[in-house]
Symmetry: C3
Subunit: 334 residues, 3 copies
């Protein structure tokens, strides 16, 4: 594997191989597999799970990592191309990225959605700019529009719980949140569940439709896997017989980049907080999923989050095992 | 060992076993003992010695670690239970702690004393809340009221220097400081010295008495070990024949949580700065101990700190060896 | 090797041995050479390359490291000797440095030039103060007046490119920059190129002469190596037949410590930005070198920096291999 940028770059068999490797490494540790190997971790925005799980993954495989964030460089890192650097930033990503990569056998990058222009973010421009400057295998640790490590972990979590692929009903639901959040996780999630063969419903209020390109990509995956993808604002219809409720807040796509209009639009949507009532018509063992961090009492009730339906800690832990598989496949043979 | 939370959880024999292991690892390195093992380090407040010594300890034993502090999460980590998270913090310790722990074989946590309500801090509420959410062995890296790693290192330092247990005279003295500091180190220290069998005197001005529960715990340890515990504000009496002067500033317990009253009370106590005159009636080889960081010219004179009595660097270095023993005992067999 | 503080502490043969070791470790990894060994990394100022390359170097050799910066201690680290610490800082380097070093087998320190008083910075006072408190081998990770790791990497880079020592023409050119930068890299670079036997020209505008002590040190090295050292403000003369243009901005030495006068002096020097015109009379394969970070469009044009002449990424990568050799020589035998 030369890169881990998008689950869509793999076919279903390849994902299953990765997950089998993740399971093997979970039960049979290989503490010398990546001896002397180095992973560079570049964070252009804050992180907790990703930061911790990648470092832990490298230790468990016998290698090591180092972390770089813009505040470690003098006055930050410039990302705009072609600029005369007579302002604050003393370093450009055109040097920073290849330099950081030159110390490593692979590099993980977390970029950020600007959340100003939808097409710009859908293009994943910042991330793809940086990607161009990497001379070693790249791992997408969340970009403006994707989060393949989260998706791989979520797939594994559903496998661990014996949630069926074909025939399994997966609801990705928008949730209320006081802030305007990026599209990376919902975009990756709808595709992942479709690729896993599930019947996927995107449940969201008017104005929060996922972009057409995201929905099309998921539908294409569903066609290959035997799954399906639908979108609705009808909660009762969506939740009936659901096996998974995956909650996540995201920006209004109707007013993308317009914070004031977005806040206006979500003003009366406080009841998009997942509580026990959401599970009235689901299957009995319906699970609650979320990528974390999650706001208690806002996105989900304490009762659901602390109850037996919630598998959020397993999802987070599976980040580590999924990433160990990715790292092993990229680095163990080199 | 399933946890290292309080020296009082161990008996004297168990402490001696830990220290024997620390000495063994100091002289006979075991660079593969914890191969592939991961230690999570969660700091809710700043740290230098603890941060460095735990990371170094894991490297020396062939494992690794990762560091998390609240500023690494988006907008900090919420600690209050039952709160609706519509404010700044995007993550709650109820998720953060088990997630971080899920990547690790053991977790070290540093919590903070709020220094508002004495009973609250004596209960170590924040720390015990987090402790509840840990599904892997926990190491107390300093809580509101305890610092067992410092105590284990200090015990080892006195052993290294052949300071006697039974019959050894240990003075824990309050010292002046411009800020209101927590009770963790004095509480742990008085208990440690008592458990080591020493004759312990707590020397402090009026208003800075250690809480009754802390003194009682130390006295119970003294009863088992053959030591004794006393408290006084008479410096001459306290220092006579002392073999150790252990200096530390702490908050006024009479005005706990009242910064103004505390500052008023310590206003004229600038002479509580340990200088050579304090050693006039001690034993000749009386040592100066402090857990660091220490303010020069405020808590202790440069002459004492830079002179042959001072063993503060040894104490700090022994943090690493003591913690290597704790980590080895928790992780080497698992 | 007990210390790596200044390339001038080694003779030419010793440098060549280090570089041979660097090349060997580049082609034949030794992932267990420093098993269980710890490197402490103390940064008194921000860093990217040094931070990343030292951590990566230790992982590649099977050891590990930890990073400390002043903001990790409570309220920063005091550096002034003999001070009564009743202000903000809670810790003094007289404790911080030996404590940090006590956890490690070697310590790297990055200090800073105050850029107030030239003699003070030429004396490297802060760095030498800290050096005094180290009880383990010290590596200079850039001090007020030196940067031996950069120099060793640059030497290796020229070897890799078959740039000749004796007879090779090396131009160290001042470049425009909006800020007042330290003398560490130019001072180390002029000495390194002279020690390598090259014919070195320092090209700089009036007012930016390198200090006499720096030039004398470089001339002494040239005498032993068969090289030469000259200084000029005549760009055409300097660049003729050059094989290397090494660009770097530095403070006015005429107005050292006077920010206003320095800015006045550099006001009209914007044309000191290396672009293709600078290579008109150089040798055809003349290379562009810079230690990074570099300001695009200010110090160097995008065209030169992104073109085939530029070897800045190689220089940065060689930091890691050069430092692996230093670490191996210091730590592998102990």
């Amino acid at each position: 594997m030369k890169e881990f940028n998008d689950l869509a770059d793999l076919n279903g068999e390849q994902v299953k191989e990765l997950l089998a490797l993740a399971n093997r490494l979970q039960t049979n540790p290989e503490p010398r597999a990546l001896e002397g190997k180095v992973l560079a971790l570049l964070f252009m925005s804050p992180s907790l799970r990703t930061l911790a799980s990648f470092q832990a993954a490298m230790v468990r495989l016998g290698g090591g990592s180092f972390v770089i964030s813009p505040d470690m460089s003098i006055h930050g890192i410039e990302t705009r191309p072609g600029i005369v650097m007579d302002g604050v930033a003393a370093e450009h990503i055109r040097e920073a990225v290849p330099v950081i990569a030159s110390y490593a056998d692979a590099i993980g990058i977390r970029a950020f959605a600007e959340r100003r222009n939808l097409d710009h973010d859908l293009d994943d421009r910042e991330f793809n700019n940086m990607r161009e400057y990497c001379q070693v295998p790249l791992i997408n640790m969340e970009s403006a529009i994707n989060h393949p490590c989260q998706s791989l972990a979520d797939w594994k979590t559903m496998d661990d719980l014996s949630v069926p692929g074909n025939g399994g009903k997966f609801v990705l639901s928008w949730a209320y949140h006081p802030r305007v959040l990026p599209l990376a996780v919902p975009s990756a999630t709808v595709h992942m569940a479709a690729m896993r063969g599930m019947d996927v419903t995107v449940l969201r209020p008017e104005g929060f439709e996922l972009p057409a390109s995201i929905m099309d990509k998921a539908r294409q995956a569903a066609q290959l896997s035997g799954g399906s993808v639908n979108e609705t604002n009808n909660r009762d219809e969506a939740l009936e017989d659901a096996q998974i409720i995956y909650a996540k807040s995201w920006a209004s796509t109707q007013h993308y980049g317009n914070r004031v209009a977005d806040e206006e639009q979500r003003r009366d949507l406080n009841d998009w907080c997942v509580d026990e009532s959401w599970f009235a018509a689901t299957q009995d063992n319906c699970r609650f999923m979320h990528c974390l961090p999650v706001r208690r009492g806002v996105v989900v009730s304490d009762q659901v989050l602390d109850g037996p339906r919630s598998v959020v800690i397993q999802e987070a832990q599976n980040r580590m095992y999924a990433q160990m598989a990715v790292l092993h496949q990229i680095l163990a043979s080199t």
